[in-house]
Amino acid sequence: MRPKLTVRNLYKIFGKNTQAALELLQKGDEKAEILAQTGATVGVQDASFEVEEGEIFVVMGLSGSGKSTLVRTLNGLIEPTSGQILIDGEDVARADAASLRRIRRDKISMVFQHFALFPHWTIAENVAYGLKVRGVSRDARRERALEVLEQVGLAPWADSLPSDLSGGMQQRVGLARGLAADPDILLMDEPFGALDPLIRRDMQAELLALQKSLKKTIVFITHDLNEALLLGNRIAIMKDGRIVQIGTAQEIVMTPADDYVAAFVADIDRGRVFTADDVASDAITIQLRDTPVREALRLMEKHGSHALYVMDGKRVAGVVTYRDLAACEMDTTTPSPTIGGSMITDYPTAACDTQLHELYGPAGQGLPIAVTDDSDRLVAVIEPGDVLAHLSGDANGNGAAEPEAAVIEAAAMEKEAAHVQPG
């Protein structure tokens, strides 16, 4: 995918001596020093990133980190001191007033923290504002406004006033207003920051659901790391006007770039960041048929595992545990027992993108969790212990995800394919 929005070496300095401050800044002086020397405040320094088409790019930072300034430079509400902002190859930083207006009308729209709905207009009129500015006729505006309101579930309120709506509903109107003009890029400046936690969760889910069909390029500003990790395809973390790390949620939590980011992610709910994919290991399987118990026990001993998935052709038939099989072996009443007899068919499953926090329950059963793909084929398994190891953050140390172990296991699996087909 090609980048929709490219930002290169963007600086924004507030105050009078911006050029002097810029030079000091590029020499490597600190923000506080520059304020003391020139009286200029550094808003954003040396920000560079690319946002790909259809991606949610989250900019996360605490208040004063420059994230709101950064997002406002993207549509020219704040003119950057230096740097480039390319939207489809056109530089917003150097656009004149007329082309800025054109870009804002056609390509980029914005959703605000405090909604910023026009109090003297109805919901439908608010939603249609971007179209009104463009000069679209009244009827066409109304039609499009109702269409978008339908999408956000507010069509019945089209003729109410903003003051009649609750905060969450008002922000849906804000979102609808942003979408009505069908822009390529949607800037969202802490859109859910002013909402109650419960409503915020609903709105986050709704945004993700909408995005599935809309596929807009979204730049989302937040001060809430949980929100960033939930929504962002990629996340940029800002501190003192500088972007300190850009990466996916998993990258940021697994390998924080510095102590600042590390401190941030320290108390994050890892169960909501990582998915089954992150902890899964290659599956060791055995074919059902009439495989003797001893065969299965030997395989488990070889891999040091305590359970095995049993396949019936290409389908998963069930799971056998070392303990059950060992007991079966001891029981001398049945000579040469097969694994079929002690197979557990009620095994736990997960999809690749199932979040870890949903696996706590299945992991509690003590059986490895089967990770299956869309067509129900077994692609990997998750050892219950790995789920917890990953949550505590030392997954790199001793989990089954250790690269070396994985290689060995993969090799073992290949061998096993030949080896487990008893004649």
Partner: protein, 310 residues
């Protein structure tokens, strides 16, 4: 004791006399005369209109307006008050005064609202306009009566010009204030959707400032009414003339009758315009809030505003 006057005395009054009599009047009198033509025309038309419409029709119209904007009690007051004016024989004078007021307020609005908009959109313009308004509001009106007579002569039109100078500042100030107090996040939103400055003015700023602008119009109207008597000194007619004549003849009754007429007219016009400001379907910030913002430190206002919105 030493005083600066020992060094030099400045013949300031002579300078002003020289400037006005020696230069302004001889050179520009025709220009000023020409400038009052539109005022005279509008005034003549409105006065003719108010004098032509029968008393009962005018009264009914005002009572209806009062009823719609200020309620039933005010409508009854209007009926009784106007009937009283008619019965004390001052109806034609009241209509002349009404025509003067309407003309002055019209010109104040036509000049004042655009000036206020200009002041709101440019700090530089406001830096120039503000001291001018300060002077207009503090200078005693008798001071400019004389040059007005010299430049424009006597009569109704010069009276309206004096009223205009006296009554203009509130509408300029409150238009400026109303527009500047439109919530910053709404301005930002309008900008983010690519509106031009004109679109922003028409769609967002003026509608949201309308309440404050209407309050300014009400203030201007009241000031214009209070100039009625003073304008009569330079030849304007109407109720002001009745009061002045009473004053000159030590005729307490006559002066009181004229005064009561002015008071009744003032109450009716005030309530109607106030009602208009309240009823105008604008959910912008209230005048009280606007004034509160005015006295708050610069820069803190938008934050407070947005919090209110949340």
């Amino acid at each position: 004791m030493f005083s600066p006057a020992d060094i030099a005395t400045l013949p300031f009054d002579d300078w002003v006399n020289g400037f006005v009599r020696g230069w302004l009047v001889p050179n520009f009198r025709p220009a000023f005369r020409a400038a009052q033509v539109p005022i005279s025309a509008v005034l003549a038309w409105t006065e003719a209109f108010f004098l032509f419409v029968p008393m009962l029709v005018t009264t009914a119209a005002f009572a209806l307006a009062s009823w719609l904007t200020a309620g039933r009690a005010m409508a009854i007051f209007t009926l009784v008050g106007f009937a009283f004016i008619d019965m004390i024989g001052l109806w034609p004078q009241t209509m002349t005064t009404l025509a003067m007021i309407v003309t002055s307020v019209l010109f104040c609005a036509v000049v004042g609202i655009p000036t206020g908009i200009l002041a709101a959109r440019s700090d530089r313009a406001w830096a120039v306009i503000r001291p001018v308004l300060d002077v207009m509001q503090t200078i005693p009106s008798f001071v400019y009566l004389v040059p007005i007579v010299m430049l424009f002569g006597v009569g109704m039109a010069p009276g309206i010009i004096a009223t205009f100078i006296f009554a203009l500042p509130p509408i300029v100030r409150l238009t400026n204030l109303g527009i500047r107090n439109v919530r910053a996040d709404l301005i930002e939103a309008a900008e983010a959707f690519g509106s031009t400055r004109w679109q922003m003015l028409w769609d967002v700023q003026l509608p949201l400032a309308m309440r404050t602008i209407m309050a300014g119009l009400n203030q201007t109207l009241m000031l214009a009414l209070s100039m009625v008597v003073i304008a009569a000194l330079i030849g304007a007619g109407g109720l002001g003339l009745v009061v002045n004549t009473g004053l000159g003849r030590m005729d307490v009754g006559g002066a009181t009758a004229g005064g009561v007429g002015i008071v009744i007219l003032a109450i009716v016009l005030d309530r109607i315009t106030q009602g208009l400001a309240e009823r105008s379907d604008i959910r912008g910030i209230s005048l009280r809030q606007a004034l509160a913002n005015l006295f708050r430190l610069r820069g803190t206002a938008p934050a407070a505003e947005t919090q209110r919105a949340a």
